[in-house]
């Protein structure tokens, strides 16, 4: 009997060796040919150093976002208003931890360990999605986060399923499959509140008011201002630009707001018959860059929380390692 094992995610054991061959044109040509023909790049394949670095940055940023994203939602799990809402929210946050793990795992195939990535997060060398630096103030925010933040993330992630790096693409496929319930969970919360008591409706609108703009900022700067986009598109790490993805998200979300009687806080929002898309107002890029640079309402808290959990757990990890070294 032959045992068939589908096995892809071999980590790079000796990445320096690969980097040295950077000047070898035939390697580069082979690489570009694969990109051209939409053949996935696998961990042990030769790849340009910049491609590897771009992926390390993007994938770890993605992983950190999943992990830091647990905090604003975790903020409400103990106070969820029903047992059903509680288990759904907890399962969703747990999925996010899992997705962080899948992504770290994929990012580790690029020859950098998870502990290194975590260290970069804690020393603020690495970023995570700025949206998680906004506070979740009421239960309606659980609705807004699921509906808008997960909604925006899904648009991005669906597109990333086609990314050129094999382990990243496979992680995205798995994540998209598991996340299908996340956005519905949030939309259910906010729509129930929008048709609830006046206080609930007010909370729902307030949550939309606070989360709308940060959500559409999630797609990043305009294409013209995005220095890294060009390479990412060339190497097919990304297949759609920031602005294209943002437009997609806006186009599909407006109707969802209308149908539950909430108003999107943008007076310039209107349908454009010529482009077949919605036009929307100017994004406050000052706010965006401020939050990216660490001045958001929760940047310090999120990182301190992460460091505290990591430090509190140090003795536990040491014990488990000591035991494993003795007993396997």
């Amino acid at each position: 009997m032959t045992l068939v094992i589908v096995f892809y995610d071999l980590k790079i054991v000796n990445c320096e060796l690969n980097i040295k061959t950077n000047n070898n044109m035939s390697d580069l040509e082979k690489f570009l040919e694969k990109i051209e023909e939409n053949i996935k790049i696998e961990p042990k394949d030769w790849m340009p150093d910049d491609y590897r670095k771009h992926l390390q940055r993007q994938m770890s940023q993605h992983a950190h976002s999943e992990v830091i994203g647990m905090q604003p939602e975790g903020n409400w799990v103990l106070r969820a208003p029903s047992l059903r809402a509680k288990v759904i929210l907890l399962a969703k946050i747990q999925d996010e931890a899992g997705h962080g793990q899948y992504l770290y795992s994929a990012a580790e195939t690029l020859g950098k360990s998870r502990s290194t990535y975590i260290n970069e997060l804690q020393t603020r060398k690495a970023k995570y999605s700025s949206i998680f630096n906004y506070p979740t103030l009421t239960w309606a925010d659980m609705g807004a986060v699921g509906w808008l933040v997960d909604g925006a993330a899904i648009v991005n992630q669906v597109s990333l399923q086609k990314t050129s790096y094999g382990p990243y693409s496979r992680a995205m496929v798995k994540i998209c499959k598991e996340e299908s319930f996340h956005q519905r969970q949030g939309y259910e919360i906010i729509s129930n509140m929008a048709k609830g008591t006046p206080e609930q409706k007010q909370m729902a609108q307030d949550a939309l008011d606070r989360f709308w703009w940060p959500s559409i900022m999630m797609f990043g700067p305009h294409d013209a201002d995005s220095s890294r986009s060009e390479n990412a598109m060339k190497w097919k790490i990304k297949n759609e630009t920031n602005d294209q993805l943002r437009q997609k998200f806006i186009d599909k979300t407006i109707q969802q707001a209308e149908i539950i009687g909430l108003t999107i806080p943008d007076k310039d929002l209107r349908w454009n018959d010529e482009t077949n898309h919605y036009d929307f107002g100017e994004i406050d890029w000052d706010e965006f860059w401020n939050v990216v640079k660490g001045n958001g309402p929760c940047n310090d808290d999120r990182i301190e929380h992460h460091i505290k959990a990591h430090e509190d757990g140090a003795w536990v990890r040491e014990a488990a390692i000591a035991y494993a070294e003795k007993n396997g």
């Binding site: 905090q71 799990v77 208003p81 288990v87 899992g98 239960w139 206080e199 003795w315 014990a319 390692i321």
Partner: protein, 251 residues
């Protein structure tokens, strides 16, 4: 009639213990020592919430005119019947593991017997829960062993944690008058019957963990009659906040 009241109270005992421990385990969300462990602990939490929901639905059916959320979110401190040990604060990871280990070993042996209950709902509850707590016990036991036989620091921490929580363990074995009648009629299990098995599990895991079984001394009790520690009130305050603040709202 009396039997129904006893049955409801008995289900509250089981359901509340799962709910309160579930809430404690949910506090670990984003605070675990390693990402994988965060997921493990919230998995346990989800199992426990599932257990309490199953029993609350049954109570709602027995009582009529109520539902699982009314039961979870609209009762006061003295109306909860969870074990004292389940409401102990998480403390550090070792405190949580020591607490859970004693509970898991109890639940494992208790549900093993409860499967034989002549009440179909309770028997089904026990069957489902037994599978879950079998894994919970494996999880907490393996951690007891790792912390006990890990480093010098972890050995001291887990031994102290165990010594501290020990005095809340006997409360799990307490029964009230209603329980006694249910035990007689074959619906409930007498916890005394599983004490030996519980002791054996504890002793054998502690041996592997190279830890010392604490001396049996004074034991705190009272939860079987709804008398709790101060911690429960704070836990409920947080958990019940939205239902209490907006009594007319539907979520």
């Amino acid at each position: 009639m009396e039997n129904k009241e006893a049955l409801i109270n008995y289900c509250l005992r089981l359901g509340d213990s799962s709910l309160i421990l579930g809430q404690r385990m949910a506090e670990w969300c984003s605070n675990g020592p390693i990402l994988e462990e965060d997921i493990a602990m919230t998995n346990i939490s989800l199992d426990l919430f599932g257990q309490s929901r199953m029993l609350y639905s049954y109570i709602a059916e027995l009582e009529g005119g109520t539902n699982e959320d009314e039961i979870a979110f609209r009762r006061n401190e003295r109306e909860f019947f969870n074990t004292l040990i389940s409401e102990r604060p998480n403390g550090h990871f070792g405190d949580t593991i020591a607490r859970n280990f004693l509970i898991d070993a109890f639940s494992f042996h208790y549900y093993k017997q409860l499967v034989k209950s002549n009440n179909e709902v309770i028997s089904a509850f026990a069957e489902k829960s037994l599978k879950e707590v079998t894994y919970h016990l494996r999880h907490s036991s393996e951690w007891m062993i790792r912390l006990g036989d890990g480093t010098e620091e972890s050995k001291i921490k887990i031994q102290n944690a165990l010594n501290k929580v020990w005095k809340y363990s006997d409360d799990m074995f307490d029964v009230n008058d209603g329980d006694k009648s249910l035990i007689e009629s074959g619906i409930a299990v007498n916890p005394e019957e599983i004490k030996e098995a519980w002791n054996e599990t504890i002793t054998s895991v502690l041996k592997r963990a190279k830890l010392t079984r604490p001396e049996d001394g004074y034991f705190h009790k009272g939860s079987r009659n709804g008398v709790h520690s101060e911690y429960l009130g704070h836990l409920l305050t947080e958990m019940q906040y939205l239902q209490r603040a907006y009594p007319d709202a539907k979520w």
